[in-house]
Subunit: 145 residues, 2 copies
């Protein structure tokens, strides 16, 4: 399966967040062509500003594998990770990270600038289904204005 | 009570981590001279590289208060927060953050540089009981060498 296929699954998670009135971000963790963990933003539901899609998917992956490092895994997330989630990905030693749309306001790059915040061995790609991922975010914030 | 008093309590949390074979970092959350949450590093115990002292203390504080922002709270942590914990503190909108010793390797400043990674209104102080906080870390890593 290709990156678009898995990003579609991450988008389905984001749609769950959207339906629950949460900022629509979704994430999945894939190892050897198998989705082993899913997460969508649950900040409002859990009353916890750290309950981001990526954190939920990563914690689920650690539990499922009984491992605290994920060098063979790819994490797909619909939106550029924030500073917190980027730090969590660093500690997870993820093999690969793929995100959809950039996030100028809350994405990590606004703070980390030219410094590499991920694990040295982690491969990062972006722009997969970026328009679909961005459209969901725009629709959410348009409704709330 | 002053910052040294509360940092002593954070140090006691760090000592619990040390006794459990965990990197010795401890954190507490204080509102109006009352400790409302505590946390110590549980990465090994929980098999979760994101189970840092600060994250555990913050999650406990959200649960205790039923609130997802902590503008009236001070978080004390024995060691400079990493990128992940710094991001979690940003989302928490903490009133004040006080840490003990800097962490050249894993502290956020190595990545964030001159950019301010906390909430604009958050006050940050450091160096409180820095020698005690650093001594515990040094003892831990000396044993493991």
């Amino acid at each position: 399966m290709n990156d678009e296929f898995y990003m579609q699954h991450a988008l389905r998670e984001a749609e769950k967040a959207y339906a629950n009135g949460e900022v629509p971000v979704g994430a999945i963790v894939v190892i050897r062509d198998r989705i082993i963990a899913r997460g969508h933003n649950q900040v409002e539901k859990l009353n916890d500003p750290t309950a981001h899609a990526e954190i939920i998917a990563l914690t689920s992956a650690f539990n499922y594998l009984g491992a605290k490092y994920l060098p063979d895994a790819t994490l797909y997330v619909t939106v550029e990770p924030c500073l917190m989630c980027t730090g969590a990905m660093y500690w997870s030693k993820l093999g690969r990270i793929v995100w959809g749309t950039d996030d100028e306001k809350n994405g990590h790059a606004r703070i980390t600038g030219a410094n590499w915040p991920f694990h040295p061995k982690t491969i990062v790609e972006k722009g997969i289904l970026a328009d679909d991922c961005a459209a969901l975010m725009k629709a959410f914030f348009r409704e709330r204005r």
